[in-house]
Symmetry: C2
Subunit: 326 residues, 2 copies
C-alpha cells in the first residue's frame, strides 16, 4: 500500500529503512571531497595519507535504563563504534540532548555520568553540545544525538569482503536487543547489553580486516546482507558457529523473534583473509572468549545459513522489527 505517511518500520534498520534513506539521499546533491556517505562514517582526506571521519547517530531507546547500560552508554559507544568500524581512532564527540519538560534531573545525571565515564576511559572528549527542552508529551523522556570525528591512515570499507575471506564475530550476538526485549516484556533473565566501545579491539586487528561493521539495528541479518551486497559476493554462515547466549535463544523462541535480527551494540563482524582468520580470532578472544569464525565468503550473491539439514537464505529483515532498540 502506497502512503504518504512514514511508517514505524522505516526506523527499524531493515529494508524499509534502506528505502527511506535512499529517498533522503536524493535531496542531498553536493558532496564536495567526501566519500563513504552510505557507510558507518563518511571520510575525506585531511593530509598526506591521513583521513578525517565524520558520523552521526540519534538514540531513542526505550527504556532509557536497562541491564548493563543506559541511553548514555549507548550514545557514546555507538558513535565511537561507527568511527572504529571504519578504521578511525575517535577524536571527539558532540552531545545533543533533547529533554522532555519534567524529566528527572537525577536521571539525566545518571546518563551524563555514563557518558563521562566512557569518555574518560576511552580518552574521547565530548567537546560540544546542545540542550533543548520540549513540552510535556512532545518528546518521550530523553533523546540523544551524538556525532563523532575520527582520524586514521587506513579506511576499512563496508564493501571489502572478498571470495576466500572468513567472517569473524567478536562475541555473542544480539545481547543488546535481547536485553531490551526482555525488559519490555518483563521477562526475567541474566541478559545484559553488550554495549561497549570497540576501538581497542579493532585497532588490535585492523590491518587484517577487509571489511567491518557492528551489527546494530537489524542485527547480523541486516549488516551481513549489506556487506555481501556491497562487495557482490556470497556469504555462507555456519549456524552452529554463530555465538549466541542461551538466554537470547530462549527469549527468541518464546517471542518468535529471529536472533539474527537482534541488535548488538558492542560487537564487530568482519571479513579476514582465510590464513589470518585464526590469528585474528585469537586476538579478539583476549577481549571476549566467544569471538569466533562464523562463516566464509565465496563468489556469488546473497547470504545463506548452513544448518544441520542444509542451507537456507538469511534475508534482509523487513516489516515490524523491534522499535526503539537504540
Amino acid at each position: 500500500m502506497k502512503t504518504d505517511k512514514i511508517q514505524l518500520s522505516a526506523g527499524g534498520g531493515g529494508q524499509e529503512s534502506e528505502a527511506l534513506i535512499e529517498k533522503i539521499r536524493k535531496f542531498l546533491g553536493y558532496q564536495g571531497k567526501w566519500h563513504g556517505q552510505n557507510e558507518d562514517s563518511a571520510v575525506t582526506k585531511s593530509g598526506q595519507g591521513e583521513f578525517l571521519f565524520f558520523t552521526t547517530d540519534s538514540y531513542t531507546v526505550s527504556p532509557l535504563f536497562f541491564p548493563g547500560g543506559d541511553i548514555g552508554t549507548l550514545a557514546i559507544n555507538g558513535t565511537i563504534n561507527d568511527l572504529a568500524v571504519r578504521g578511525a581512532k575517535p577524536l571527539a564527540i558532540s552531545l545533543g540532548l533533547i529533554i522532555e519538560e519534567g524529566f528527572s534531573e537525577s536521571d539525566l545525571k545518571k546518563v551524563l555520568r555514563s557518558i563521562g565515564r566512557i569518555s574518560d576511559q576511552e580518552k574521547v572528549p565530548v567537546v560540544t553540545g546542545d540542550t533543548k527542552v520540549m513540552g510535556k508529551g512532545k518528546v518521550d523522556g530523553l533523546v540523544i544525538n551524538t556525532s563523532g570525528l575520527g582520524t586514521g591512515t587506513k579506511i576499512i570499507p563496508n564493501s571489502g569482503l572478498r571470495p576466500g575471506n572468513k567472517i569473524v564475530a567478536s562475541g555473542t550476538l544480539g545481547d543488546h536487543g535481547a536485553t531490551i526485549l526482555a525488559n519490555r516484556f518483563d521477562y526475567e533473565s541474566a541478559l545484559r547489553t553488550d554495549c561497549q566501545p570497540l576501538w581497542s579491539q579493532i585497532k588490535s586487528v585492523q590491518k587484517h580486516l577487509t571489511a567491518c561493521k557492528d551489527p546494530t539495528r537489524g542485527g547480523l541479518a541486516a549488516i551481513i546482507n549489506e556487506m555481501a551486497s556491497k562487495a557482490k559476493v556470497k556469504v555462507a554462515l555456519d549456524e552452529g558457529a554463530i555465538p549466541f547466549r542461551k538466554e537470547t535463544k530462549a527469549l527468541c523462541d518464546i517471542l518468535g523473534v529471529s536472533p539474527y535480527e537482534l541488535a548488538s551494540e558492542g560487537r564487530l563482524v568482519a571479513g579476514v583473509a582465510a590464513k589470518q582468520a585464526e590469528a585474528v580470532v585469537k586476538k579478539l578472544q583476549k577481549f571476549d572468549k566467544k569471538a569466533a569464525i562464523i562463516g566464509s565468503v565465496s563468489r556469488g550473491q546473497g547470504v545463506y545459513l548452513k544448518t544441520k539439514i542444509g542451507e537456507r537464505k538469511l534475508p534482509v529483515p523487513e516489516g515490524k522489527l523491534v522499535p526503539r532498540i537504540c
Copy 2:
C-alpha cells in the same frame, strides 16, 4: 523552588539554560586538546596554523514551516552559522532526523529540499546522516540534529570584546522569533524569518572582528550579556540605533515581549575596533542595508541600553521565554 524536574525554561537560552548547561558540563571531564567548549563551536589544532572546528545543534521548532523558511533551513543555516561566527569555513554537515510515525513524507521532502538547496548554494556537503522513527505521540512531528565541521586559520573568540570597540549588527534583529510568534498567535503580518547562512558575510569582515555571535535563543539580550561577561567589559547599546522591523516592534508591544530577547537566525553581532567600524558596516551593508553600529564597549561590566531618557540595564533573559523558537 528546588525540583528534580527539568523545566521548559531551561531550554529557552536564558539564565536557566546556562544553569543546566553548567551542570551538564561537570560530568564531561576529559577534554583532550580541545578548547572553546562553551563557545559556538569547539576547536582543536589540525596542523601548522590550522584549526578544526566542531559544533552541534538540535532543532525542535514549532511550527515546522513558517514564512521564509522551515526546520530544514533553520538546521543547516544554524550549524553553518555556529561555525562561521567562530571564523570557520564550513566543511561538512551531519543530519540526524527523528521522525514521528505517520509524519507526512511530502513534508519531509520539502524539508530535505530546503537543506539540499542551502548545501548546494553554500557548497557545504551533508555527508553523514541517521534516521530514527518514533511511535505516534512519542515525538512531535520532526526533530533535526545537525552537527558541523569547519576549518580556519584564525579563531574569533566570543570573549574578544575590548574597551573602545564598537558593536555592530548585520541587519534587523529578532525577525525569526517575531515570525514564529506571529505564526503561533495567528497574527497577520509581513514578517519573515531572517534565517540565512552567514559565512560569506563573516568572511568579508573577519579580520576586523574582535568577537562575534549570532543572536539566536534569548536574542540580543542573551548574547551581548554573554559577550560582555566573558570579556569582562561594559557594553552600552544605543536604543535608537538597533535595527528592528516595525512589525517586530508592533508584535512585541501587543504581546508584551521584549524585542531584545527575540531570536535571529541569520544575523551577526560583533565587536570591531572603533576606527574600522564604519568600514565593516559598509561591507555588511552590501549584504543587508540595515547593518549598523549599535553600541560601544568600555571598561566596567554589564550591558546597558541608552534611551532618550537615560540608561537602563539590559538583563540576561530569564523565566518563560518563547519555547521551541528554533
